[in-house]
Every structure is written in structure tokens, then in C-alpha cells.
């Protein structure tokens, strides 16, 4: 087992952490899959409103890479396809037919001994969207040969789904998923865990177990890679979400199509809890647990998640909802405030702040300003990358320099804390994404 300790970073002490127990979970009547959750794809629909689909049927494919198809995450009827500007597909909403799902037979098992077997099996069952890659954080190209595969079971983001709890009953499926993942690469299969969680994994030689310690973003794929096997130019690393391991394991070991997973809801404006749910779950089943009127519901965590409506759905790669107050308050001379419980800052700028878990709101807590490098980003960015210089090279559109400074190793989620602490309220994630876009579309 390898141990990595991250020093630079910050665990945001936000209130509304769910305790490790499940609440009653009503059955989902609607689920959705949104092509918007996937970077750099050109979706082409294979279904229309009113069509009957069953689990695993292809819903749409990527025009750039037609082998990659998206599975139906439920059996039932396509109740609505939501289009946005220029007919971009925003949501494919499926009305779930419970009886049909219960009667689905398991797929005839095939022998998954070689890499081609596994790849073929994944293609056949439309499971490629579960595999994403670094750089660019997009769905993989099945023809690529990744230099290694990373799975993180140590999500460190605020109010994250605690996988050591929510995956507790899926030990065999996790092993099955990981052993088949290992077949996809000649390199290592890294699995990141925190503390003694998932200690059973140390019995398996094919897994390179990594014990991470330290504050967020220590559990991020990018940060772990940067420490154990840095990503170079022209290299590709694959990853799958830790929360998806049971889903993959069920398919690989028993040929079962089962998109259920355990999610958590957290945040200062909601009664936090864990629920037995499924991919693409709709939020409004849980609207009774909201603690106030004006809220922002976020699919994913508060740093990198996506804002959704009350009847919005869980993003494909997300396993938690976060809810914070939508605040419009304007405190009198707020910048002169001495401190106390109503303030939270990683700077020692307020007396007696940060002591208790804090009720964050959507307030930006300051106006946007030109960037003043007070060493704030660097304190929460643990990679050996000059993030400030990288951001400048992106602003200057200098592709060569972006590559030299290590943009391939970064993703939005790795710099989310930089935006959180930035006194100038810059959006560093957006800058990094813009840089990646520039490179992606240049090639």
C-alpha cells in the first residue's frame, strides 16, 4: 500500500452533513439522463418521445465516436425530451415502469478473460459512458490504451457521499468491477481509499491501493495522479466513479442491469440523509426535507455541482444533492465586520470564525476584481503546477505554454477550492475549462 499525504488544501466546514443511516426512500417515478453531463460529445438521439425502452437500451450515441452509446437507465416510456437552444438535448426523461424492470432477465454471461472480451461486453451493453478519462474529463475512446486506471473511493469534497458507508454491502461487486477494470490497462489500477476504509482491497494483488490523507482536494483523481503517476502529454488515464463500481460489478459478475445506487442529500438548507436511489434520480421526491423557501438545489457537491430546479435530476456522475440558501442579504458595512459565527474564511481575517460548521449561502461575499496574487490559490492547490502562471497562459491563449505548465493534469474540480478562496472572486475552474477547450478544439 502506498500512502500519500496532502498538506495544501482545505476541508470546508459546511453544515448539513448526513449521518450514516438511510431514510425511507420513495420509489423514483421519473429518471433522466442529460447529454449535457458529458464534455465534448455530439449526441444523436436513437429514441423519441413515447418510445418504450428497457434497461440498457441505447438512447443516443456520440456522432464523433459512434461506438459509444448511452444506456437507458430505466425501463419504461420516454416521457419527455427537453431541448434547449439550437436544439441541444438537455434531458431525456424516462417514466419508470417498475414491473418491467423487475422482469428483466440477466444477460447471458460470457467469459470475460481478455481485454477484447471486456471491451466488447462494455460496448454491447452501452456502458462506456461510465468510463471517463483524464485529460479533458470526457467519456473515453474505447480504442485508447490507458496508461493506468484510477478509482477514488476517498471523495474529499464538501458533504460528499461517504462511499465507505453507501457501498458497504457491495464488496463482491466492487472486487468484480475492479478485476475487470484491471484487464483494460497494461499499467496499474490505482484505488484510493481513506484510512482503514475498504481494507479488504489490500488482499488483491492486482490493485495498487493508495491511502490518502489530508484535506480536500486530496481525494480527487487529478491530485492522486499528480502524486503517484503524473499525466504527461499524449497520455490517457481512465477513471470510473467510485459510486458506480457496484453497477459495473453487477454487470460484469452476474450480467445484471441495475442502475440503483445510494445517494445522499446534504447542506445547510435541507434535512440531510442517505437514500437508496438510482442514477438520474429526480429531486422533488425529497422536497419535504427542505428547510426553507428560497434554496438552490445542486446536483453534486457545492464546489463543482450543477444548479438544478426542484424537479431537476441527479447528474450522471453525481451521487449527492446539496442544498444551500439562496441569499440576497446585504449586511451593513460587511467588509468591516469583526467576525464571529456569521463569517467563514480560510484567511485569518475574522475573529472567532470557522469554529462551527457554517451555513453557507449562495452569496459571493464580494465583488469581482482583478486578480491580486496573495498566495491564496497556492495554499489550497496541492499539485506541482504553477496555477497562477497556468491561468495566465490560458488568458493569453498560449497553447504551448499551457501544455508545458501541465494543463493536462488539471480539471475543474481540482481548482474549485482556488475559486472558493480567491479574494478577487475569480472562477479558476472556468479558466481551466477554457484552456482545455482551446486545446481540444485545436486538435
Amino acid at each position: 500500500m502506498q500512502k500519500i499525504t496532502i498538506k495544501k488544501g482545505h476541508d470546508i466546514n459546511i453544515s448539513g452533513l448526513a449521518s450514516r443511516e438511510f431514510s425511507n426512500s420513495p420509489a423514483q417515478k421519473f429518471v433522466s439522463i442529460s447529454p449535457q453531463d458529458f464534455n465534448y460529445i455530439k449526441p444523436k438521439l436513437l429514441v423519441k418521445e413515447g418510445d418504450q425502452v428497457s434497461l440498457g437500451d441505447a438512447l443516443f450515441f456520440d456522432k464523433i465516436n459512434p461506438d459509444v452509446k448511452w444506456p437507458s437507465i430505466a425501463s419504461g416510456t420516454i416521457s419527455k425530451i427537453v431541448f434547449g437552444e439550437r436544439r441541444a438535448v438537455l434531458d431525456i426523461i424516462i417514466e419508470v415502469d417498475k414491473d418491467n424492470e423487475a422482469n428483466i432477465e440477466s444477460i447471458n454471461q460470457i467469459n470475460l478473460s481478455s481485454r477484447d472480451d471486456v471491451k466488447g461486453f462494455i460496448t454491447k451493453n452501452n456502458f462506456w459512458p461510465f468510463f471517463t478519462q483524464r485529460p479533458f474529463n470526457k467519456v473515453v475512446d474505447p480504442n485508447d490504451n490507458p496508461k493506468c486506471i484510477v478509482v477514488t473511493l476517498a471523495d474529499s469534497s464538501p458533504l460528499a457521499n461517504d462511499l465507505s458507508f453507501s457501498l458497504a454491502e457491495n464488496k463482491d461487486y466492487i472486487i468484480s468491477a475492479l478485476s475487470n477494470l484491471k484487464k483494460l490497462t497494461d499499467g496499474n489500477l490505482y484505488v484510493a481509499v481513506r484510512g482503514d476504509n475498504f481494507s479488504f482491497l489490500s488482499d488483491y494483488n492486482f490493485i495498487n491501493l493508495i491511502q490518502v490523507e489530508g484535506p480536500h482536494p486530496s481525494g480527487n483523481v487529478g491530485v492522486i495522479l499528480n502524486r503517484v503517476n503524473p499525466l504527461n502529454q499524449n497520455e490517457v488515464v481512465w477513471t470510473v466513479q467510485g459510486s458506480h463500481l457496484p453497477i459495473l460489478g453487477k454487470l460484469f459478475s452476474k450480467g445484471l442491469l441495475d442502475f440503483s445506487m445510494n445517494i445522499n442529500i446534504g447542506g445547510p438548507a435541507v434535512k440531510p440523509s442517505y437514500f437508496k436511489s438510482r442514477i438520474g434520480a429526480r429531486f422533488d421526491l425529497h422536497k419535504d426535507s427542505l428547510l426553507m423557501e428560497n434554496v438552490r438545489i445542486i446536483s453534486g457537491n457545492v464546489l463543482t455541482g450543477k444548479q438544478i430546479d426542484i424537479d431537476g435530476f441527479l447528474g450522471f456522475y453525481h451521487s449527492s444533492f446539496s442544498v444551500i440558501e439562496e441569499s440576497f442579504s446585504r449586511p451593513f458595512i460587511g467588509w468591516l465586520h469583526p467576525g464571529g459565527k456569521s463569517k467563514y474564511s480560510v484567511f485569518n481575517a475574522y475573529l472567532g470564525s470557522n469554529k462551527k460548521s457554517y451555513d453557507f449561502t449562495t452569496l459571493q461575499n464580494g465583488s469581482n476584481r482583478a486578480f491580486v496574487p496573495v498566495d491564496a490559490w497556492e495554499k489550497v492547490f496541492p499539485m506541482d503546477i504553477y496555477i497562477n502562471a497556468l491561468a495566465r497562459s490560458i488568458e493569453a491563449n498560449d497553447i504551448d505554454e499551457m501544455e508545458q505548465l501541465g494543463i493536462y493534469e488539471c480539471d475543474e474540480e481540482d481548482v474549485a477550492l482556488c475559486s472558493f478562496v480567491c479574494p478577487s472572486k475569480s472562477d479558476v475552474g472556468a479558466i481551466i475549462r477554457r484552456g482545455l477547450d482551446t486545446i481540444y478544439f485545436d486538435k
Binding site: L303, G305, G334, W335, A370, F420, S424
Partner: protein
């Protein structure tokens, strides 16, 4: 508060887009957000943000300077009482000093605000709080009875040439306050250098600063002996630390400067690396010069490292000017080099160049110029590391 809120909401209607007064929006916005924190919301991730913003960052620097103002005012009164040979209370001394400090402060802020607001209106951007720090720094680097029109012109020059023409805060190359100081130093030398300007006394009263004594000795001797022989002021180490000596308004009391330094470092605003490395650079170079002093009749070479630390405005400059985040190095390795060279250059300019006994101002401006170059090489080493890994 509601009443005030209402005033802002009502007046805000006049500066909306499309209204004849819309050009004044930056001015209105600045006033509005000074009284009421902005309710600007996060649009996408991160949906939550830290409570620190640039307003508070800049305000904290101003807070760190307030003790220097109070002592500076007191010191003016104290030295004046000394010159007139009269007895005055602490409070009376301070009030006397404020008679000099306040007009300078007002002239600076008027000039700074006019420049900043004008540029905000022309460029249609929000008023940046950075000018508050520049304006708070400039009076502290002035002699007590500097003519106000010179302060006004100097400040305008510093803000416009030092900052605005480069695009404002965040893109400036030189520290605006130091640019103002340097401009005045060369444009109006009679009012900002020499022996006559540092203490307020009767007409023709002259009071040399500590730096001027070994710079212009009547007869060669070591600096320590020259200080000891000086009868007009007490230039013992202790007294120079407490700051009851002539000098720029804010530079003399080293205890308060160090207090400001600790405050800014604790809050995470100033870089301790710059402060520490500049002191190392200063001590190192002073020590080398001490060793070489036997070969020369330049008394400046005999100033001990500790005396270098306490005389002149080195500490003030390194704590409040060199650490300015935009114009200093942006990498931590770069900050060590940048600070060290400021210390080295300060001693070199002080000792070897008899025309400008105060070296820290030029040392920082020179290093402002070289900071991007230092960063360039630091970043290049990171690039080389990555290329080597790639190969």
C-alpha cells in the same frame, strides 16, 4: 439602515444603463458597496465562497498603517518641541503633528480618488479598492512639511503612471505609492531630501536623518562613532527602534511596523517570505561591507547590519511596499529571490551611492521591474521538470 438603503435604491435608478447619468455608475456602485456588502451571487460552481474579498484585504493593509500614522503625528510634535526646547504633553504633540499629517492625507486621498474614479468612469469598470492602500502609504513616506500641491501632483503621477496606464490594480508593474515617492524625490528634491525637511522647527532649522550622518561625515570615522558623536538627536539603537528621530512620517517607529507586519502575515495578506528574505539580504550585504570597510574611507560601509535595519525606511518599505502582491514575485521561490535582492540592493544603494542615501525606495522599484523575470525563470524550471518527465 433602511433609510440609507432606500437612498441608494432611489439614486441607483438614475445611473442605470440607458439613463443620462449611467456614466456615473462606478461611483454609485463604489459608494453602495461600501455601505452595504454586495449581494452578488455565485452563478455556477463553486456555489459557495469564502468571506474574504478585496475590499477587506485592502482595508486590512490600511488598518495595519494606522498605528504608524498615530506615532508619526506624535513624533512630529515631539521633534518640534525638542527643536523649540519646550515641554509639551503627549496629546499636544500628537495634535500638533496631525496639523501636518492630516492635510497631506487629505491631499493624497483627493488626488487618488479623482484619478481612480475618473479611470473607472472612462474604462467603465468598478472602482478598485487598491488606491486606498496607495493613498494611505504615500503620506507616510513624506516629510512633515512637504507642500500639498506637490503631494497632489505626486499622488496623481503615482496612481496614473504607476498603475492606471498599465490597466489598473492587478496589472501594474510598479508599486504606485513608491512611484509617487520616486517621482517627488526627483521632481522636487529640495522639499523631500536634505537635512532641512525632516523635522518641523523654527525657520532654517536643520535636523539630519540617521542616514545622512555617515553619508556626509565631517571627518571619517565608523558609523557607530559618528552616531554616538551626534548631539542633536539620540541615534542609539534603542532610540532608533522607538523612532523618536527625524524621518518620513511613518518610517521611524520600528515596533509598530513590525506589529503591522505580523498582523498582515497572520491574516495571510503579506508574504513573510519577502520580509524575511529581504532582511537576510540586508544583513548579508551589510556584513560583507563591514568586512570591506577597512579598504575605504566611506563611513557608510561601517554601518552594522542591525543599524541598517533600524535606520531609514528599510523596514517600512519591505513590510508595506515590497510585499505588495501584484508588483512582487508571484511564486514562492521567486519571492525569496525578490526579497533577498531588495535587501542587497538597499545596502548597495545606501552605501556606494552618496547621492541617494535612502536606498530602499529605488531597490524595491528596481526589483518590481525584475519580479516578472524572476518568476519567468522559476516557472521555466517547473516546465523543464515536466519536459524531463515527458521524455
Amino acid at each position: 439602515m433602511n433609510f440609507l438603503r432606500k437612498i441608494f435604491e432611489e439614486t441607483g435608478k438614475f445611473v442605470e444603463k440607458g439613463k443620462p447619468l449611467s456614466w456615473a455608475y462606478p461611483v454609485w456602485e463604489a459608494a453602495d458597496t461600501i455601505f452595504f456588502s454586495t449581494n452578488k451571487q455565485t452563478s455556477k460552481g463553486p456555489h459557495i465562497r469564502d468571506n474574504m474579498d478585496i475590499k477587506r484585504t485592502m482595508f486590512f493593509v490600511v488598518i495595519a498603517l494606522i498605528p504608524c500614522y498615530l506615532f508619526g503625528a506624535y513624533n512630529i510634535g515631539y521633534l518640534n518641541a525638542l527643536a523649540l526646547d519646550i515641554d509639551r504633553s503627549l496629546l499636544a504633540n500628537t495634535f500638533f503633528g496631525f496639523g501636518y499629517v492630516l492635510p497631506i492625507l487629505i491631499a493624497t486621498f483627493v488626488a487618488g480618488a479623482v484619478c481612480e474614479l475618473t479611470f473607472a468612469i472612462i474604462r467603465k469598470h468598478e472602482v478598485n479598492e487598491g488606491f486606498l492602500v496607495s493613498c494611505a502609504l504615500i503620506p507616510l513616506t513624506m516629510p512633515p512639511d512637504v507642500p500639498l500641491w506637490q503631494v497632489f501632483i505626486g499622488t496623481s503621477f503615482g496612481i496614473i503612471i504607476g498603475k492606471e496606464i498599465f490597466g489598473g490594480v492587478g496589472t501594474n508593474v510598479f508599486n504606485p505609492a513608491l512611484t509617487a515617492r520616486a517621482f517627488m524625490y526627483f521632481a522636487f528634491p529640495t522639499k523631500i531630501s536634505g537635512d532641512k525637511v525632516w523635522a518641523v522647527g523654527p525657520d532654517g532649522y536643520s535636523g539630519a536623518t540617521a542616514l545622512a550622518i555617515p553619508a556626509n561625515p565631517v571627518e571619517y570615522d565608523t558609523a557607530s562613532n559618528l552616531f554616538a558623536a551626534s548631539t542633536q538627536f539620540d541615534f542609539s539603537l534603542m532610540n532608533m527602534f522607538w523612532g523618536l528621530i527625524p524621518g518620513s512620517i511613518g518610517e521611524t517607529n520600528k515596533l509598530l511596523i513590525l506589529g503591522g507586519a505580523f498582523f498582515l502575515i497572520y491574516c495571510g495578506i503579506a508574504s513573510w517570505r519577502i520580509i524575511v528574505s529581504s532582511v537576510i539580504g540586508l544583513v548579508f550585504t551589510a556584513f560583507i561591507f563591514n568586512l570591506l570597510s577597512g579598504f575605504s574611507t566611506n563611513a557608510m560601509l561601517t554601518i552594522t547590519p542591525l543599524q541598517h535595519l533600524l535606520i531609514g525606511s528599510f523596514l517600512f518599505g519591505t513590510v508595506f511596499m515590497a510585499t505588495e502582491p501584484v508588483t512582487s514575485s508571484h511564486t514562492n521561490t521567486g519571492r525569496w529571490i525578490y526579497g533577498f535582492l531588495i535587501g542587497v540592493l538597499t545596502v548597495i544603494i545606501r552605501s556606494i551611492n552618496p547621492a541617494y542615501p535612502e536606498g530602499v525606495m529605488l531597490a524595491i522599484l528596481i526589483m518590481n521591474m525584475f519580479a516578472p523575470l524572476i518568476d519567468y525563470y522559476v516557472v521555466q524550471s517547473n516546465i523543464k521538470m515536466r519536459l524531463a518527465r515527458n521524455a
